[in-house]
Amino acid sequence: MNWAVNTPWALTGLLLALLPLLNSGMRTSPAPWTALIPADTLSVVIVGCLRLCAMAAIAGLVLGIAGLHRTEQSRERIGHGAHIVLLLDRSSSMDNTFAGRAPNGSDESKATAARRLLTDFVNQRQTDLIGVAEYSTSPLFVMPLTENKNAVQAAIAATATPALGFTHVSKGLGMAISFFEQQPVTGSRIVLLVSDGAAAIDHDSELKLREWFRQQQVRLYWIFLRTAGSPGIFDQPEDSRDDNAGAMPELYLHKFFLGLGSPYRAYEAESPDALKQAIADINRLENLPMHYVERIPRQDLSTTCYSVAALLLLVLLGVKFCEVKR
């Protein structure tokens, strides 16, 4: 039930509820000898009831003043959804358009497009826990996994500030996976990587990432915002001399992800519409049954207390008019 009050010390007022035991609250009329009056069970019951009414009225008022409420409850439910970590690229190139130019009036930058579509995406995923991490030269922890959609939106909105430095994707991935530590494994666990470039991952980091992806059972979605004219994820090198991670980091990162052993999907978005398609796909696919906690906000009970007290006061006042007049 989890009942609580706002001002606990006000509960000392409950002692006042004992007062009706000491005094009936009725006018006394003189009688020569009370022992002469025959015992009457009905009267005893009525007096008892009236005293109880008075006690309840006092208790109701005190509880109302103390601010009785039912605390925020959480109820475990089974629904469809996922734990999603949005891993956002904050490297400077994200501030350019898909055509690789500085944004002008008609074209929006990649970061703006990503921000707009992610905002919609978050709004559609009501039961999910969503966290946000960012990376440029170093990873940034932004928002823990949370059901508070306002918080996630605030973090996404903050990416409107100018971007930073370079692309260091392995550290970012490491941080994103760390979000799932100490989280129950339920539903699907997703890292949604939104980036416009890739970088070679060194051997040590590769080993670690492989291990972490397996341990935490994370699925990876990579939305690659491709700038026109730049190499894509699926491009094969034309010249065998270019077939290395330094020259084609996107292809090699893609190959690394394919070899992770965990479910992985890549999307190459060359325009805001393609990005929209990728997000719609995730929305459709990632709906595994999941335990989630539904929060029931705290319920104020003081209104009930006051209403009961007012009703009892009305009864007591009514009874006053039934007293013997002499």
């Binding site: 007022g13 000491l22 609250g25 006394t28 508070n148 903050a158 003081s302 006042l317 007049k325």
Partner: protein
């Protein structure tokens, strides 16, 4: 009937009932309460790792102390206040999230502050004046008060010839500079790539003067001056830039130039006082529950009815 009305108890109950009526008709009142909207920008440059704060008899780093104090501060802010978080390094800052209402997003803000780490820095310089300017410029339209938390250690040192001009933001942004650190210079810890401390920055590790542009000194006084090859002379610069102390006078100067106020961080109480500056508060009309007032009145009247009778009446009855 008349005797019933004459009885004080009837009067009490009737008044109590009227009080309850008032309670239901007029349950709340519009009240002005100060609320705050802060964007904390935390300096995460290396000098913030210097350990010159004490907590539970242990030396803790400036950054750790700042995080701890902010998390405690979060608990004391009134609901409806908003807190955003950003980081400063290099010559600008980044915003992690826009201001969030503290009561509904307490856990999220608290966790995010707890996770702030010097390793989040995306570049290594510490140009505080430029960082402050870009931060104020970035947030001047947000309506949030910028709380810039730094120790004032410029690295590399600023050339007095090229000082940051705050005239474009002065008066547009409101906020505060919070100075962190002790006044005694202490060494700055050095870490390896795995985050283990490997000693302290030594004299030879850091530049002791700016070598950008033209020197501010008269060329005739610079030893080994050569306009093209050695505008700062031939002598090696010496200084104490490898040690770090809170640069209060410098931060006060920056605060005055940018139209902010300055305060030094010593403990939570003092930070709370500084931040509750009426200039940073916005009075918000908040519905306040005033039902307890008529309820208390009704309670007193009801108790009066059941108050034990003085014993002298008992003797006769």
């Amino acid at each position: 009937m008349s005797t019933t009305l004459k009885d004080y108890r009837t009067g009490c109950l009737l008044s109590a009932l009227i009080a309850m009526l008032v309670l239901f008709i007029h349950p709340s009142k519009q009240q002005k309460t100060p609320t705050y909207n802060y964007t904390f920008i935390i300096d995460i440059t290396r000098s913030m790792n210097a350990t010159d704060y004490q907590q539970d008899n242990q030396a803790v780093s400036r950054l750790h102390f700042v995080k701890q104090t902010l998390r405690e501060l979060l608990q004391t802010l009134p609901c409806e206040s908003k807190v955003g978080l950003g980081l400063f390094t290099e010559r600008r800052s980044t915003l992690l999230f826009e201001p969030l209402e503290v009561c509904s997003a307490y856990t999220e803000i608290d966790t995010a502050i707890g996770k702030v780490d010097w390793r989040m820095a995306w570049a290594a310089d510490s140009n505080i004046a430029k960082g402050l300017l870009s931060t104020l410029d970035m947030l001047k339209k947000s309506g949030s008060s910028v709380i810039f938390i730094t120790d004032g250690q410029e690295a590399p040192p600023v050339n007095p010839n090229y000082q940051t001009d705050f005239s474009s933001v002065k008066g547009q942004a409101k906020g505060m500079i919070i100075g962190v650190g002790g006044l005694q210079a202490v060494p700055i810890p050095k870490f390896d790539s795995l985050g283990k401390q490997t000693g302290f920055y030594s004299h030879d590790d850091v530049p002791h003067r700016s070598s950008f542009g033209q020197s501010n000194l008269d060329p005739s006084q610079i030893k080994g001056y050569n306009a093209r090859n050695a505008p700062f002379g031939s002598e090696a610069a010496t200084g104490n830039e490898h040690l770090s102390a809170l640069q209060e006078t410098y931060l006060e100067k920056l605060a005055a130039e940018s139209g902010l106020t300055y305060a030094r961080l010593t403990d939570l109480k003092n930070l709370n006082q500084a931040l509750q500056n009426p200039k940073l508060a916005t009075e918000k009309m908040v519905q306040t529950d005033i039902r307890w007032q008529p309820a208390l009145f009704a309670l007193l009247l009801l108790c009066l009815v059941y108050l034990p009778k003085p014993p002298k009446y008992r003797l006769f009855s």
